[in-house]
Subunit: 403 residues, 2 copies
């Protein structure tokens, strides 16, 4: 995910309750994944969670594609003592935006990540040591390939929907382009058909911070007492600024001081303003839960994503599909501005595809897709209902045609 | 300055020609500067340049206040062999925006800087060693105090105008508030009455990059073989993104690759996209010309600037002045957006002050004030003419009143 939800409701009556992360082993030799860069990778462990029940018709599955630093734990808690529910718990559960009373919801950690799915910190079975930088560069396409395999492994031939924000939206778009018959509806939140040059620029600086940290040790920091925590926290501090709107920073922190009502005139007091203290805290927390190598790989996957380069045009990427698209942007998101959503919508309309789009007037910047969930839920319920209805009738049509 | 002008015309016929940086020693004990933080500092060396001639009436002086990483060398060249004219050479010279045929133009390196004026890398006369982090924290007010002393040292009691962009604009505003009778006209470009919380956030990350660099050595890196060049270049790379508009990055670099037309699938190729290569180059060049401690001090001075905190309100800051203001913003500047200029203009209008304002539709983001100089020049000529005319008639009135 772009960043943690700052406040989240504790899991209560409308929670999916206690959930367990599960693991699947896919792409076992000799059926390894061939990455976009031409390397082979396998076996691949995938960490995933599911919420709700798969219908006998297997027609109610929704796949959540998480953003840059998310994980498989989208909803619920891991034990009775667990006080921190999954990252999208406000959106996934009984009666929520993704309604687990009706849908079978799957969320998997991405390939290259560090929360259970095979990534650079995993053990390479060939060497018995961590991959580190010998892990192949992966693309959004490679990530989707693993998601697709997992869905089939779970018995789902065709998803009711794939849903994702930011890098998760990239995955949804790529999935729709790559396997047009495997999804009924695609929900793309705060995303784009490619990362902007400005986005690449910010990622470049974040990666530089990690690579220049003397504790990076060419990616083999696990063998040392300390990893590149300065670099990784710096990358996170920077990225975090891009997830917030200028207005939300202004309103939440403004120029308020952290410890005093007087300026310190002390250059080494790094957390004088509240916004400074907040960013340092975010950086510090991030280092505790994320792997620096994964950050390098996944930001690179974002940089590489470009539907037009790959398929000739956005329209061509979706020429073979009757997927129904929902494209959502947020007015204060300057990292993935509405203009980028419009580009997708324009291409879909031009080629006569089904597309619904909206821009929410939310104040939280790019993070809005993690926070501003009420209006999205209201929109999503009828959208998914229609997709499911059309799916049923569509299948009948297909059956008739087959006769 | 925010960043270098990427291309600049070589000094030719309309150049001020060969110029020499001069030095003045001010605030000699026992008349030291007392900084905003309550420390004393002196003597203070000021590096400055002047272009054009001071009129016998001493009524044609214009003071240029430079931005974060600028210097005293605004125009001309330092020798016949010098191929790199001053940072605002397109704007300062015969017939240019600041017309040296008519005006006596002064530009001085700021207090705390590293281009000749006393700063953290200067020798502390008490210890015989560099100040480094024992240098007092300086504010925009302290910087202006030194500028003001220099103007008087040069025989100028009242400036025709003070002109500056970004941090330079802060100085112009502070000067106008602090010494309202010492300026006729104030020209504030791409600036604000305070740095935004988002601006503080970016500065925080930049400072963190320097402070976390193991070669920072508590600011005493001069005693070591290598300084915090990774940290300083990282800070610059990040800041540089904020000086450009998203559109200008997109148009100038887009997703073009630097060395190939194929993706490298190589995580360690840090300059794969042109935008990456450009940022790395900017970072590297910056380290060659700028001091890390100065970067810490001057960004902190930016963070601390807040007219309202200091004077009660923007309107109160200017209650005692009849200075004529020109406030200019640029449509694609997201670091100092037009809304911040409007705040200044609104306060000035409310209190019946003379203010002219405009937003230029320039594509270059915050850097526009260094690049988009033609329309600004056309606006500035009549504005300065009027200020000079009113000054003359104002002086006559004063004379009459005295009779």
């Amino acid at each position: 995910m772009a960043s943690e939800i700052i406040e989240t409701t504790p899991s209560g009556e409308n929670s999916v309750g206690i959930v367990e992360t599960q693991f699947a082993t896919l792409f076992e030799p000799p059926h390894e994944l061939v990455t976009s860069g031409g390397k082979t990778l396998g076996p691949i462990t995938v960490a995933y969670e599911t919420y709700g029940e798969l219908s006998p018709e297997k027609d109610n599955a929704i796949f959540i594609c998480h953003a840059l630093t998310g994980d498989a734990h989208a909803a619920g808690i891991h034990s009775d003592e667990d006080t921190k529910p999954g990252w999208w718990d406000d959106f996934v559960g009984p009666g929520k935006g993704l309604d687990t009373d009706r849908h079978f919801v799957i969320c998997a950690n991405v390939l290259g990540g560090c929360q259970g799915t095979t990534g650079p910190s995993s053990i390479d079975p060939v060497t018995g040591e961590r991959y580190c930088l010998s892990f192949p560069v992966v693309t959004v396409g490679d990530i989707v390939e693993v998601h697709y395999a997992l869905a089939r492994h779970l018995g789902v031939e065709k998803l009711l929907a794939a849903v994702g924000g930011s890098l998760g939206g990239f995955q949804v778009l790529e999935w729709a382009a790559r396997y047009p018959d495997s999804i009924n509806a695609a929900v793309v939140l705060a995303s784009a058909a490619n990362l902007s040059a400005q986005g690449i620029a910010f990622n470049t600086v974040g990666r530089r911070a990690i690579l220049a940290d003397p504790n990076f040790h060419d990616g083999k920091y696990h063998e040392h007492a300390e990893g590149p925590r300065y670099g990784l926290s710096l990358a996170r501090m920077l990225a975090h600024i891009t997830y917030l709107s200028e207005d939300s920073i202004e309103q939440k922190f403004g120029r308020r001081l952290q410890h005093s009502d007087k300026l310190a005139y002390d250059l080494l007091r790094e957390t004088e303003f509240q916004i400074e203290s907040y960013l340092h805290y975010q950086g510090k927390r991030f280092v505790e839960r994320f792997d620096a190598n994964s950050y390098l790989y996944l930001t690179k996957a974002m940089d590489y994503f470009h539907l037009e380069d790959k398929y000739g045009s956005i329209a061509k990427a979706f020429r073979n599909t009757d997927i129904r698209f929902l494209v959502v942007s947020y007015s204060t998101d300057w990292l993935f501005p509405t203009s980028q959503s419009r580009e997708i919508v324009g291409a879909l309309i031009e080629t006569g595809k089904h597309v619904t789009c909206t821009e929410y007037d939310a104040p939280f910047g790019h993070d809005s897709f993690l926070i501003d969930l009420e209006p999205l839920s209201r929109l999503l319920h009828p959208f998914l209902e229609q997709a499911q209805h059309l799916r049923s009738s569509g299948e009948k049509t297909t059956s008739r045609n087959k006769k």
